[in-house]
Symmetry: C2
Subunit: 181 residues, 2 copies
């Protein structure tokens, strides 16, 4: 099963993320959990989240970039769900061997993400926080999906990204498990 | 005025951060806002936060490192307080010219923060998210204060860090403003 942990603070106002998610409809074995719909009051049900994670072989963190990282509720999800003894530390093997895909939309273009650009760094400079969170839990980090200038894309551009995203998840779902369960 | 935006999810259980804050007592013109005490329900009063920021010439983000970055409530603070037209974008000059200091405690030592260490990267690899948030708002990023292995420090070690932190803030408070207000 592929678990898409979706974190958009204003899911109704999303355009790009909604199209990306729509592209996953009908893909076998995809479960989407929209954190801001599930937990508008930030009271995360950690047991429910862990149960979903345990059933997954691929974990996707999908969100728009807010201040160079994940929206606050996804950060809280890390803190409440990925706990000592479950996700890391002695006995904390629940996520070991799963694959982790970071799928994000940004408001800038590639020129903005340059040392001399608006955001002062290449986009990959902002990835270690996410990447190392996955790795610390024993997950395999796969090449992220990064949709730049999401608000400027027209419907054809969005549709192409949605198709690519869908194909990526289908491909990941076909990989052999890394470890015997 | 120096504004210390303090974000510890369990302020009562903090040891290192409490000592660091204690070292600031009596320093002229320091205001501490403890986000988890002020907003246990995550309902940030953005107007109150902005008013405190407007009066400051130095902004400190002090927190323990949680999953290689800021605790969730500080991330939410970025999203709710640092808004378009106030902190960035046209007319968004409220923070321009202020200095920003990142003051953090970690659970690891310097060996853990190496490419072949437990955390897979030098500590500075996790800084761009914070640094670029400050710079995007026109703030000057100064050299961070990073207290490694905070839980392992004995009282002498903590006291030395508290004195260094206090001295750093006193030094920053004496700098000339970057811009005429």
């Amino acid at each position: 099963m592929i678990l898409v942990v979706f974190a958009h603070p204003y899911p109704d106002r999303s355009s790009a993320n909604r199209v990306l998610l729509g592209g996953l409809e009908g893909v076998h074995g995809v479960e989407v959990r929209s954190l801001y719909d599930l937990y508008p009051d930030f009271n995360i049900d950690a047991a429910a989240e862990r149960w979903a994670l345990e059933r997954a072989s691929v974990v996707v963190w999908q969100h728009p970039i807010y201040w160079y990282s994940m929206p606050a509720l996804l950060k809280l999800w890390f803190e409440k769900v990925l706990t000592f003894g479950w996700a890391w530390g002695p006995g904390g093997d629940a996520l070991r061997g799963k694959r982790c895909l970071w799928a994000v939309t940004t408001g800038g273009d590639e020129n903005d993400y340059q040392p001399d650009g608006l955001h002062g760094h290449v986009f990959g400079a902002f990835a270690p926080v996410m990447e190392q969170t996955a790795r610390f839990c024993g997950m395999e980090w796969v090449e992220p999906v990064v949709v730049h200038e999401a608000r400027q894309l027209d419907s054809d551009g969005l549709a192409a990204w949605a198709a690519a995203y869908r194909a990526r998840l289908v491909e990941l779902s076909r990989w052999e498990p890394l470890l015997d369960a």
